[in-house]
Amino acid sequence: MEAPDLDLRRRTYAHMVEQGRAPVAGELGDADEVRAGWRRLHDEHALVLNPATDEIRMLNPFSAVPSAWRVHARERWWYANCAWDAFGVCAALHADGRIESSCPDCGEPFAVEVEGGKPDDESLLFHVLVPAAHWWDDIVFT
């Protein structure tokens, strides 16, 4: 990964953390150049673009679009892409947090408080359907 793309990635994540949302291309510079950089970062799995719009879909562990995984940390609500990423939001922000989602089977909502990296509810079960070698085949499904 070249230095200009690393810098673009750094500015993209900084915008997410500071503003609580992903930037649109024009907020970071010339929109065409930013999108070209984002496409290279997408190819390197450093972020995920919406293929239909070339706007950001995921800044893992953050989701740029509303999802079933909401995380309250640093006095703000964030969306995550999945269970792993929901804990990842607390990890990336180096913050305690509250994760809210629901059981995919019965729909019963649950909330998990994360304090010092530890969840307060040990009863939940984490399941990964797709083997690791295929996570990036379709990262949105994974």
């Binding site: 390197e44 999945c82 792993w84 990423d85 690791a132 295929h134």
Partner: protein, 69 residues
Amino acid sequence: MNLFRSEEHLTRWLGGREPGATTTVMKLSELAHAWWDDRVSPDWVPHAREQNQAILDRLDLTGSFWRLA
């Protein structure tokens, strides 16, 4: 990648599909903190596949299911 209320809920949700891998929410939190800790750091550089595999290995997430591409 989901959290289920119990093994029974997971089995019902799978509906006969082959299960993937299951672990505790405690291990999930450890994994997430090891994996994502540096993600918003201004000094972030891409993880090599070997670095990520070492995180999984360290947490005893081993075997063919957890082998990265």
